[in-house]
Symmetry: C2
Subunit: 258 residues, 2 copies
DNA sequence: CAGTGGTCTAGACCACTCG
DNA sequence: GAGTGGTCTAGACCACTGA
């Protein structure tokens, strides 16, 4: 059962540089060897080296341009896209301990006029889940999630108090591929105030998420309400040249909209 | 002076598909021709075709995998990273009219303990600018920006009431390469309430931005305070295979952090 | 099984950077 | 002008998909 798939050469080369850069072994601003030199060192064709460099460039780790050697960029931080979908993953990435308390779970027929999003199907069963999420034991966020039944079914075999639903679903093979998040600020309602231990009307950072599979089918809708003094969202973007070839690294687009 | 640089074949091919997909000429979910077929059609080597497809994949327009033809993804929307830096660009992308009213502009010595960020240098001149930003004439956001003097100098020749500082600076050749945005929710203060025509304590969506050049030098710090019912932030991300080669398209990383 | 994309090689020419 | 990355070609083998 050793899941070791053969790793392509270009990915192997890329990951060597990736960790060397992230560990600081290669300093920011330093130049990488020329492609020709790398061809010698690794004993591969130039195309393979270029594939590896393209991956790094695509990840924002290096910059390249004609006539100049590749240069290590200022740190783009190491952070997984998963962190944006999974509260647990996100909190752990901060070196803190995620927690949760389930407030409500139900499976019911989708109905018009509920607070469920228009994109989830009507006339089908939906699974609703409301959880209070904690960081190091402190109430931080209230999460209201609605799952498409195909996913909701799998949830019945999962204890929502035990950890990350997102990670569980991925393990189960769910195709959670794309997400759209809308972020705004709203006043705290009574439930927020009660559970998050704050005053009614205080600012809440609200993140509404729609998750779809690759084909665009909506699988999950979520509304997360954060106690704003205990969480914020960080977005990093750069104008680095796009590039790279292949490998299953993750990608993200960011933009603002009214 | 015709700035027409020769366009690489792979980019030319990529842009043909890009516009065909965005215009809907090629439908979502449709398959693209096989690489072999494209080699015939365009009369180029397979590597060039793969380069073009890699660009599209990297932009989230298509998905590829072994044994299957490339598939057009569900729309990732057309939106520029510029929109995330430039209020004007952002508003115009919505088909609305951006506006601004300068509340304050000053150039003074950086001092410890001011509200300026720790990353901007002390003991140098900084240019401060406070503007009220409007959408279709309605107050929407208050923007407090602090510029590094190298950029602030150029600002003295710019009328801040006339439009987009960001676009002006880019035109002037400023190297605004990377941005980190921190988003949270805070109560409106007196200035917010006055200018944005809302009540003190109502939720404000706050975006704090630090912009640096490629080397990491901080060039600008900005705090934008949005009237939350008139603006929100939308973030789209996908797990599409990273990939592509070359071309100066833009890239963005997104992640959440405490 | 045939078709298809992922990986890799080997060699070429060009545009740009820098000493 | 030497070094370097960007572009392109031609051909090869493998892994996976689907009929």
């Amino acid at each position: 059962m050793s899941r070791t798939v053969i790793e392509p050469k270009h990915e192997s080369i890329a990951s060597q540089f990736r960790s060397a850069i992230r560990s600081g072994e290669i300093e920011i601003g330093a130049e990488l060897p020329s492609e020709a030199a790398l061809v010698e060192v690794f004993g591969v064709a130039r195309g393979t080296i270029r594939q590896a460099l393209a991956t790094l460039r695509n990840e924002g780790l290096i910059q390249t341009s004609r006539g100049r050697r590749p240069v290590v960029c200022s740190t783009p931080l190491e952070q997984s896209i998963d962190d944006f979908f999974s509260f647990s993953s996100w909190v752990r990435a901060q070196g803190k301990v995620p927690g949760q308390r389930t407030l409500e779970i139900s499976r019911r027929l989708a109905a018009r006029g509920t607070d469920s999003p228009s994109d989830l199907p009507e006339g089908e069963y939906l699974v609703h889940l409301v959880r209070l999420r904690l960081i190091d034991g402190l109430p931080c966020m209230i999460e209201r999630t609605t799952f498409h039944d195909s996913i909701g079914q799998q949830l019945l075999q999962f204890d929502p108090d035990s950890g990350s639903i997102f990670e569980y679903l991925i393990e189960q093979g769910a195709q959670l591929d794309q997400g759209t998040h809308i972020v705004d600020a709203v006043p705290a309602n009574r439930l927020d105030a009660e559970q998050l231990e704050m005053e009614v009307g205080s600012p809440i950072l609200r993140v509404r998420r729609t998750t779809t599979d690759a084909s665009g089918q909506v699988l999950e809708y979520s509304e997360d309400r954060y106690r704003s003094d205990r969480a914020s969202i960080r977005i990093h973007n750069s104008r680095a040249n796009s590039a790279s070839v292949s490998t299953a690294s993750r990608r993200a687009n960011t933009f603002a909209q009214s």
